[in-house]
């Protein structure tokens, strides 16, 4: 019985850290503990979290998508461009299609040719980035105020805006996909031991491509929501997002080598990140040092993950 409790405690380290941290911060920082502040935190991490949910599937399958930042920019720009040229419907459909296509390309090229998805998506980052800047000739796209499109982001339930709800919805959906479907199981198997997965007869190319497609889809959703909120889009919209997403995953406990982790981990990681950044903001730490903190967090988390892997192998 004692062993089991210890085991449960160990696997829930992250949420314990989160709870403890929140408790400490609530006591020490004046405005931290208020409901409004928590909602603020959720709002600030919502877009990154939506992307992180998609990225989680990719990482569990053994890959990594560094092009999410550029893809985000592309989808945001496409959304506003379509809004100005045509209508709301296309402003939603076209970015989604773009996200899916990017996912197909990323997934297929890295799986079919057995290439490191890191380098493939690195290349795609350039391709998509260049394309995005090309469409708008480097300039920010200002959207024509359109009743329907803007209203999307203004929806809220219980004072919580729609994009937070979308995040929660996708998180639940993806977790079900991961844990309760054959697809999710195949993904975990591929991430755990790609060679064994092949011998067992799993179509690794197809499954991994689908994971990238889902990631691209999530990116497009997040981009559409942000464009709806700002009614403008800049080709640099998503710059740097890939790092925030990876940070959230890693500190949440998703292993970058694949096979280990779930959406729940990612959520904890994103919230943890949001909490830390929020605390830094409330105590008036210069914005730039948040980036430094993020960098340190990534290194810390990856070190711990590598140590844990090593222990298993020994």
């Amino acid at each position: 019985m004692k062993e089991k409790t210890l085991y449960i405690l160990k696997s829930q380290t992250n949420i314990i850290i989160l709870v403890v941290l929140v408790a400490i911060l609530s006591l020490t920082i004046p405005n931290f503990g208020q409901v409004a502040n928590f909602i603020n935190i959720l709002k600030s991490i919502a877009f990154i979290s939506i992307i992180s949910c998609g990225m989680t599937l990719v990482v569990i399958g053994g890959g990594l998508d560094l092009s999410v930042g550029s893809t985000f920019s592309l989808c945001a720009i496409l959304s506003i461009v379509m809004l100005n040229r045509y209508n709301t419907v296309l402003a939603i459909i076209v970015p989604i299609a773009a996200g899916i296509i990017v996912g197909i390309i990323n997934g297929y090229i890295s799986s079919r040719f057995n290439l490191s998805s890191i380098i493939v998506t690195l290349g795609m980052l350039s391709v998509i980035g260049g394309f995005t800047y090309f469409i708008v000739n480097g300039g920010t796209q200002v959207g024509v105020p359109n009743g329907t499109f803007e209203k999307i982001s203004k929806l809220s339930v219980f004072r919580i805006p729609i994009y937070v709800w979308v995040f929660i919805f996708l998180a639940i959906l993806f977790e079900i996909l991961l844990k309760k479907t054959t697809f999710g199981r195949n993904l975990v198997l591929i991430g755990t031991n790609p060679e064994a997965a092949k011998i067992v007869g799993i179509n690794t190319t197809l499954i991994r491509t689908i994971s990238f497609v889902i990631c691209g889809f999530s990116v497009s959703i997040a981009a559409i929501l942000l464009s709806s909120r700002l009614v403008t889009a800049a080709p640099s919209a998503g710059a740097g997002y890939e790092f925030d997403v990876i940070t959230a995953l890693v500190i949440g406990g998703v292993s970058l080598t694949g096979g280990k982790g779930n959406i729940y981990n990612t959520i904890i990681g994103a919230i943890l990140l949001g909490v830390i950044i929020n605390a830094l903001q409330l105590t008036n730490v210069p914005f730039a040092f948040q980036a430094i903190t993020k960098g340190l967090l990534i290194i810390l988390a990856i070190t711990l993950d590598t140590r844990a892997r090593r222990n298993i192998e020994n």
């Binding site: 199981r185 195949n186 007869g201 096979g259």
Partner: protein, 500 residues
């Protein structure tokens, strides 16, 4: 006795080594004279690799003593072994294929030029040329290693052992498995040179014809013991094989049920450098064993049957229909499953539970639904845990925690769960304890009786002869013998295999 001992360079006295479940070496005695070639033969599992691993410092002995040049020594690690002048030829681990021959031979001790920090290439190539000439090997010192034949790469290995590591004892494990007859001749010439220099060689091989050509003495290992040493003038393949088998081994009487229906056929299988014009038929409910030494091509053969290794040409017929198997997926879809030889790397999902390891193929082949049912998965795994007597506290136990035998049973459950028509097993009882081994053999028999066909590879001849209805023996890419029913005996297989 004393006179002989003074020319002894190595003496192994009553060395024992046990692993959980097996006694690998049982008070083994062995000695090596200066400048001699001492061959060791024995079945897989007889203990020869274990002894070599102890000598090269990879394992430590449990008890017994080692003497070098008369003085007692302790070998606690690889470095000790090298310092003592013992060198084992490992092909893959120690060659750096992308740099030149010269740099490989002089690795870690490249000659320095007048300019500090710079390499004196002229001296490097000149010294290398001299060494190569000394060994009468005509290789260009500037050649990149990967452009050389496997044989030449091996010769470089040997040179490295002698020059870089100052070895006085060199251990060669199946050195001729990838060599042609000419290259083997060249190897023997090098060995003669080494002997002339006073270097002793432990030569492990199955090829009795070769051994009679090169060895001064032969020791035969069986079941962890050294059952006898023969001098050159006492050699005969007959005698050695008898010693290898031992008189205790009963050839088990089997009924050979006549199997008629051919379910699987391969014609004209060609794999470059490995298999030549191979053809094969498997009948329903038949257990076909494939035996062969390292380098015979049997691994590449089964891998290509399963779609893991591309073959230059092959015709495959399954249940009478001509088809192609280009990937494992194709094979599994047809009802062919494969058990890889390295389960930790190629089969097991170590982080995952026993249940998760049993269900993969079943999930997308029989279950086929989008949503998982943990109830059905659990039921399936409990079923097989019971059927195969898998020792695990629960189906949720992480598979990495199970013993080798139980892990193998998990993988077998995985394969059986889809009721395959043909099971290809590559070394199914490697690293498995004796109890589980028996159980696995029984399982294979039972399934065969029920109509499942098997292709079984093993390097343990007693195992192959025990369970197979029919055996094909491969040697260097060709079939050198085929035996049916009562002719399937260890002796017959061994005789075929040991012909060079």
């Amino acid at each position: 006795m004393n006179q002989n001992q003074s020319s002894l360079i190595l003496k192994v006295k009553e060395v024992t080594k046990t692993f959980p479940g097996t006694i690998a070496l049982d008070k083994v005695n062995f000695d090596l004279k200066k400048g001699e070639v001492h061959a060791i033969v024995g079945e897989n599992g007889a203990g020869k690799s274990t002894l070599m691993k102890i000598l090269s410092g990879v394992y430590t002995k449990d008890s017994g003593s080692l003497y070098l040049n008369g003085g007692k020594v302790d070998i606690t690690g690889v470095n000790d072994s090298i310092d003592l002048g013992i060198s084992m030829i490992y092909q893959e681990l120690e060659n750096i294929l992308k740099i030149t021959v010269a740099e490989n031979i002089f690795i870690g001790r490249l000659p320095e030029s007048r300019l500090k920090g710079f390499v004196n290439f002229r001296k490097l190539f000149k010294d290398t040329k001299n060494i190569l000439e000394e060994f009468k090997i005509g290789i260009n010192p500037r050649e990149v290693l990967s452009n050389l034949s496997i044989a030449n790469q091996q010769f470089i290995e040997i040179i490295k052992a002698v020059t870089t590591k100052n070895a006085r004892i060199i251990i060669m494990d199946e050195p001729t498995s990838s060599l042609t007859k000419d290259e083997t001749g060249k190897l023997f010439q090098i060995i003669e040179d080494l002997k002339g220099k006073g270097i002793s060689i432990i030569y492990i091989s199955h090829r009795l014809d070769e051994i009679t050509g090169i060895a001064d003495r032969v020791s035969v290992f069986r079941d962890g013991k050294n059952v006898g040493t023969l001098d050159k003038n006492e050699f005969s393949s007959e005698k050695i094989i008898t010693m290898m088998i031992g008189h205790e081994l009963k050839e088990i009487e089997k009924e050979y049920k006549l199997k008629e229906k051919v379910i699987f056929e391969v014609k004209d299988l060609n794999i470059k450098n490995h298999i030549n014009d191979f053809s094969l038929k498997v009948h329903e409910g038949e257990i076909l064993g494939i035996a062969g030494l390292m380098g015979s091509g049997k691994d590449e053969l089964v891998k290509s049957l399963f779609g893991l290794w591309p073959a230059a040409s092959k015709e495959i017929y399954f249940m009478g229909k001509r088809l192609s198997i280009k990937s494992p997926r194709d094979a599994v879809n047809l009802g062919i499953v494969y058990l890889p030889e390295e389960r930790k790397i190629q089969s097991l999902f170590l982080d995952l539970s026993v249940s998760d390891n049993i269900t993969p193929i079943w999930l997308f082949h029989i279950y086929k639904k989008f949503f998982l049912s943990s109830r059905r998965e659990k039921r399936l795994s409990l079923d097989y845990i019971k059927k195969l007597s898998i020792k695990t506290p629960s189906p949720n136990q992480k598979s990495i925690n199970l013993s080798g035998g139980n892990q193998q049973k998990v993988i077998l459950s995985r394969l059986i769960s889809v009721k395959p028509k043909l099971m290809i097993l590559n070394d199914p009882t490697r690293g498995v304890d004796i109890g589980s081994k028996e159980e696995i053999h029984d399982l294979i028999s039972q399934l065969a009786d029920q109509g499942t066909s098997f292709i079984v590879l093993s390097s343990e001849i007693p195992e192959i002869s025990k369970i197979s209805d029919r055996v094909i023996v491969l040697s260097k890419g060709n079939i050198c013998g085929e035996f049916i029913s009562s002719d399937v005996t260890t002796k017959n297989i061994l005789v075929c295999e040991t012909k060079a």
